[in-house]
């Protein structure tokens, strides 16, 4: 072997990582080769210089800060491999306009959703979806709820077109009798009312689109729980994800924390870099909307898995149009089952005031480099029958979710999420009453201290970028056993 061939082995030798047999060979070579001996010394010298670098002291308050955030975070669930903050479902806004033409479709993916795909499509006039009832500014409603399961939630729905009907039931206080500051809730309510006239102008109330979307999200989240244990190809740990999501959403853990509600937005881009650029530009273009942001991050394995599945499921879904009519649930499940290797994606968390979510989404959508998930969903060619079927399923499943003062995992428990085993929801009850629907958006069980919704009803937007070229290798799978 030439000296170049030995070079890497020398590195391994220096590090004590050379297998015995190769070590013997190398030692023999070194005995005869001055150049390689020199290389070895040089390598040892560099390594030593690096080792000699002083350790940076931990910043003051580091541990305290971490533990503070830990206190605010959802507790990991030993039994069901909880996920990190990622909500294991995502919401696609189809149409997105708060005006009448808005169609809200929510596809739930994630914790073993395969068993139950909930897709809620809602035609504005149909308003069949419960979500609106759950509260137009579900985002805000949640904030309010987190803070005070107040009548605010009740008032919230008023913004939606069909809201009128729901206004009545909406007035009833949250079942779980959450205490809390009515103030934010009322503000929400007022905003909501405003937005109804408003055709969804951003100010104050959640726009209808957002509201529906949020409500649907809430409901789905709840529904997500149900599949709970469902195993999704590629990772059993996804099951708990749904649990986590609801748990995450609803159960802030023993320590109530000012955790704002979290929305997932999905965008496709040609490459991650382009997508990131586009998002950054959008952020720059609307600094008024952004209350805070974090650094971009790659995802952990399970997040990547989720998104990878999502991406492939969507693309595969196109071919399922026919099958979908007959059995949309199965079709979607199969699409999801066409899971390939986990892709990676980039996620950016941005804090936005609840009322600004729509505007922010608009800013992102205006970017030519970003394709919002809605477009993807629209390309699935779901016809009305399919959508209706999905809506029905969604309603049915949503109805399961009557929070019955369950503790622990919040929705999971209350809504009969079977994922974490906290609750069991074997049979779909009849379509939910508006009251029940409203409850869907509510945080957990009575007695749970009302968490502060966070500064001024803020929402955390998780902007997920999907791009075809992302190499999975960049996303190590921390949860896998060592090689």
């Amino acid at each position: 072997m030439t000296c170049a061939g030995w070079a890497e082995r020398i590195t391994a030798l220096v590090d004590g990582e050379l297998p015995a047999g190769e070590r013997a060979d190398l030692e023999r070579h070194l005995a005869a080769c001055a150049a390689c001996r020199e290389a070895r010394e040089a390598e040892e010298a560099v390594a030593a210089r690096l080792r000699a670098l002083p350790r940076a002291p931990l910043p003051a308050g580091f541990s305290a800060s971490v533990m503070g955030r830990v206190a605010a975070a959802p507790a990991p669930d030993a039994g069901t491999a909880p996920r990190a903050r990622v909500i294991p479902y995502w919401v696609f806004l189809v149409g997105g306009s708060a005006a009448a033409a808005a169609v809200v479709a929510m596809v739930m993916v994630g914790t073993g959703p395969p068993r139950e795909m909930h897709v809620a499509g809602e035609k504005p006039e149909a308003s069949a979806l419960p979500q609106p009832a759950a509260g137009p500014g579900p985002v805000m409603e949640r904030a309010a709820l987190d803070d005070a399961k107040a009548p605010a939630a009740a008032a919230a729905p008023t913004a939606l077109p069909p809201a009128k009907a729901r206004t009545a039931p909406a007035e009833t206080p949250p079942p779980d009798g959450g205490a809390g500051t009515p103030a934010p809730a009322e503000k929400v309510a007022e905003k909501e009312k405003g937005s109804r006239e408003d055709e969804g102008e951003v100010p104050g109330g959640g726009k209808r689109g957002e509201a529906k979307f949020e409500a649907a999200k809430e409901a789905l989240r709840d529904g997500a729980d149900r599949p709970g244990e469902d195993k999704v190809p590629g990772g059993g740990e996804r099951a708990p994800a749904a649990e986590e999501a609801t748990a995450d959403a609803e159960d802030r853990g023993p320590a109530p924390a000012p955790e704002p509600p979290r929305l997932l937005l999905f965008y496709k881009a040609d490459t991650l870099a382009k997508g990131q650029d586009a998002v950054e530009k959008a952020l720059v273009s609307r600094p008024d909307l952004v209350a805070g942001r974090k650094a971009w991050r790659g995802t952990t394995a399970s997040e990547s898995d989720l998104v990878g599945r999502l991406r492939e499921g969507l693309e595969g879904r196109k071919q399922d149009a026919t099958a979908a009519v007959a059995d949309p649930d199965r079709a979607l499940r199969e699409a999801l089952a066409r899971i390939g290797a986990a892709g990676s994606e980039k996620v950016l968390e941005v804090r936005v005031r609840a009322g600004d979510v729509e505007a922010f989404r608009g800013a992102l959508s205006r970017s030519p480099a970003l394709v919002e998930a809605t477009a993807l969903l629209a390309s699935l060619d779901l016809d009305d029958a399919v959508l209706e079927e999905m809506r029905r399923k969604f309603r049915t499943l949503s109805g399961k979710d009557a929070p019955a003062g369950t503790g622990g995992t919040g929705f999971a428990a209350g809504g009969g999420g079977s994922g974490s085993g906290a609750g069991t929801e074997p049979t779909p009850p009849p379509p939910p009453t508006p009251e029940q629907l409203r409850r869907l958006a509510e945080p957990p069980p009575p007695g749970r201290p009302a968490p502060d919704p966070g500064a001024g009803g803020e929402v955390v937007l998780e902007i997920h970028l999907l791009a075809p070229a992302a190499p999975p290798a960049t996303a190590p799978k921390p949860a896998t056993p060592p090689k």
């Binding site: 002083p54 830990v70 995802t299 960049t474 060592p482």
Partner: protein, 206 residues
């Protein structure tokens, strides 16, 4: 090491059974190393602080997914590196050039080997007498590190600064051990090229 592993696993078990405070054990044991690695990777003390905290919180919330077959800290490093990579890419895409902000770290180099964390095998700071020249040298090394491409820097930092084995580095970075070796080799070679002239000035490499 086995005792360390056990300590980690016990803490993990306690956390998973509901004892949040037990996580502080893991934070104390591994926070410094994650923070240190991120600092070397990013060169930016603020970002390193933020991402180190984020990595730990992520590890907490995802603790249920951690499989005890591997060491907790390799998993933690993996999470942290992912965050660093994203941050690195964000900077690169925004600025159009590799993050050169290790200069910041070099300038603000932490003082003489004081370590707040658990004793690290690689932690050996210069004594008071050598402080001055040690600092200069450290800054040179910092800059040289900053100039490395990300994957080489990762490998070198994890090996020479964090003391991980090839296998552990492979886990943390998501590449095979052979690639790890190759990257360490290349990374050190590149560092050597940058540092040798200075080393000669300073009287030779240590």
């Amino acid at each position: 090491m086995a005792a360390d592993r056990r300590a980690d696993e016990e803490a993990i078990d306690r956390v998973l059974s509901g004892d949040r405070d037990a996580f502080a054990v893991l934070v104390d044991r591994h926070g410094p190393r994650v923070h240190g690695a991120l600092l070397r990777m990013l060169g930016d003390p603020e970002a390193a602080d933020d991402l180190a905290q984020e990595a730990l919180v992520k590890a907490y919330t995802a603790l249920g997914t951690f499989r005890k077959g591997s060491a907790f800290y390799t998993w933690l490093y993996a999470i942290a590196l992912n965050l660093a990579r994203s941050e690195f890419r964000r900077r690169k895409s925004l600025k159009g050039r590799p993050a050169a902000s290790l200069d910041a770290a070099a300038a603000g180099d932490p003082d003489d080997g004081r370590s707040n964390g658990p004793a690290e095998p690689t932690a050996r700071g210069p004594g008071p007498v050598e402080a001055a020249s040690g600092r200069e040298d450290a800054e040179r090394v910092h800059r040289a590190l900053a100039a490395l491409d990300e994957e080489f820097r990762e490998a070198v930092v994890l090996r020479d600064l964090e003391g991980l084995s090839y296998e552990e580095i492979a886990e943390a970075t998501g590449v095979p051990a052979g690639t790890v070796r190759s990257r360490i080799h290349r990374g050190r070679a590149l560092l050597r090229e940058r540092l040798v002239p200075e080393a000669d000035r300073a009287g030779g490499a240590r």
